[in-house]
């Protein structure tokens, strides 16, 4: 190998290596990537016309506004080498459709070249949209339409049936309109965070002295909020400065430090993490569609083909 490398001119060797790598990457059958969630209808096959996509999007947006449940239609050319069920669960875990805690997400996937369909149902809807019902929808509504080449018709009938089932279910009311308002848990998160800064700060101040303790609290707050809770730098620095000031001013209460610091720190961290992860998708527009923040998919639903 080294002999060959020494004999060949550099440029040829580089070209050969590149060619080998390219060939290898072609041979390796990579999994189909999870497409980005660009909207309520993600059509990577170009099957649907723009007005059809728009009409579907409107229906799905209405469903979310009325019931809070997120239903997304995905068309891909193929899911090979994976089974459509394997691909569907990967997509579901990446997109996190459905509200956190309620888990009311639904995905209708069509693998056009494989001629396979699947409806993936979130945990919260498994009672309303059972395996039997999704199997029937795929078999009796979607497949006949698809066999005739009427993809839009099949998808619309599936969406209508699923919406009917979802509307029959008693879900927590949709909060899509009121996203911008601070919910109770966000407020809790803030209170806990402030308490943590105060108590933690006084602990550090009692150990390291006023200025050093204050600086340490501020620094830790900036790092924690930026790294752990993915807060943007301006926010993180703002919080850090607030923590620094708080530690300076209230640093005298050294008694609180010991037992309070650990407990409140943990609670504050948890409150922050939860509220920031759920409160961050703030959108009143239906143009800006994003996942609900962590719907859990357990693998329920059914597959079909045509």
């Amino acid at each position: 190998m080294m002999l060959i490398a020494s004999v060949l001119p550099r440029s040829l060797l580089a070209w050969l290596v590149a060619a080998c790598l390219a060939l290898l990457s072609l041979c390796a059958q990579a999994e189909v990537a999870v497409p980005p969630l660009t909207g309520r209808v993600v059509d990577l096959t170009g099957t649907l016309a723009p007005q059809q996509t728009a009409a579907l999007t409107e229906k799905l947006a209405k469903l979310e506004a009325d019931k809070g449940s997120q239903l997304v239609v995905l068309l891909v050319p193929t899911t090979q080498p994976e089974d459509i069920a394997q691909y569907a669960i990967r997509v579901a875990e990446a997109w996190k459709l459905g509200r956190k805690g309620v888990d009311d997400g639904l995905i209708l996937i069509v693998a056009k070249n494989d001629r396979k369909t699947r409806i993936e149902v979130g945990r919260g809807l498994e009672g309303a949209v059972t395996d039997v019902q999704t199997s029937r929808i795929l078999r009796e509504e979607v497949s006949p339409h698809f066999r005739q080449g009427d993809f839009y018709g099949g998808i619309v009938s599936a969406v209508d049936h699923l919406s009917l089932l979802v509307r029959g279910e008693a879900l927590p009311p949709s909060q899509r309109q009121g996203r911008k308002h601070y919910r109770q848990d966000t407020i809790n998160g803030w209170i806990a965070g402030v308490l943590a800064a105060v108590v933690g700060g006084s602990f550090l101040v009692s150990m390291l002295g006023r200025w050093l303790g204050g600086a340490a609290t501020g620094g830790l707050a900036v790092l924690a909020t930026h790294l752990l809770f993915s807060l943007a730098w301006p926010f993180a620095i703002g919080l850090g400065a607030a923590a620094f000031l708080a530690a300076l001013i209230l640093g005298g209460a050294s008694g609180l430090g010991g037992w309070g610091g650990g407990g409140f720190g943990g609670f504050g961290g948890g409150g922050f993490g939860g509220s920031w992860s759920s409160g961050n998708d703030s959108s009143n527009d239906d143009d800006d569609f994003s996942g609900g923040g962590g719907g859990d998919f357990g693998g329920g639903g059914a597959s079909g083909d045509w």
Partner: protein, 206 residues
């Protein structure tokens, strides 16, 4: 200066061992949760079996050994008491896995046999049960994959330095994971024999 160094050293050691312990506890609880989900889904599958057997019996009662196989597999699965203690005992875990594998193969044999009876296949109750079975098998797969992931995280923590010291201190060991059952059988391609089945099918459909 000395006081500061001492405080820092103390904090560092506390944090190191403290962190490890909490992490282990969290991951241990995650394992328990994902394990109960796996057991849940396996139970759901077992609950489908009696109805399935009844429907198939209605159309294909001559397939006695296959039906018997499924019923026996269900009895075996039902007899194994699954508690969180199973996770601490690799032998009990292996027994559980074996019983479930037996159920899987018995069910697949049943489904293969029912392919020969077109009336059975078009029966709506059978169709619904098949849909439910398929959904449950998928849920089992998802639950197993999640369990495997949580066990992997926990085992890595238990084996890495310095958390392995904490693990040894509190006698926490690596947890058993799902293995591929019957590796040899899977790597051998299944034999498809249409001759005998076609003859049987013609007589069975009457």
């Amino acid at each position: 200066m000395r006081k500061l160094a001492l405080t820092l050293a103390l904090t560092a050691t506390l944090l190191l061992s403290g962190c490890g312990y909490n992490q282990l506890q969290t991951q241990d609880e995650a394992i328990k949760a994902s394990w109960s989900e796996v057991v849940n889904q396996y139970q759901r599958r077992a609950d489908l079996v009696p109805n399935l057997v009844n429907v198939v019996k209605g159309y294909a009662k001559q397939e006695k050994d296959v039906l018997l196989g499924v019923t026996e597999a269900r009895a075996k699965v039902g007899s194994i008491q699954v508690t969180p203690e199973v996770l601490k005992d690799p032998q009990a875990f292996a027994k559980f896995q074996q019983a479930q594998a037996q159920m899987t193969s018995a069910l697949s044999r049943l489904l293969v046999v029912s392919e020969k009876y077109p009336e059975l296949k078009s029966d709506s109750v059978f169709r619904d049960l098949s849909a439910q079975l398929e959904g449950t098998e998928n849920r089992i797969t998802v639950a197993r994959n999640r369990y495997i992931k949580t066990v992997q995280e926990y085992n890595v923590t238990v084996r890495s330095f310095p958390t392995n010291l904490t693990a040894k201190m509190f006698d926490m060991q690596t947890k058993p994971n799902f293995t591929v059952e019957n590796e040899k059988a899977i790597s051998a391609a299944p034999k498809v024999d249409f001759g005998a089945d076609a003859a049987k099918g013609a007589s069975g459909a009457q």
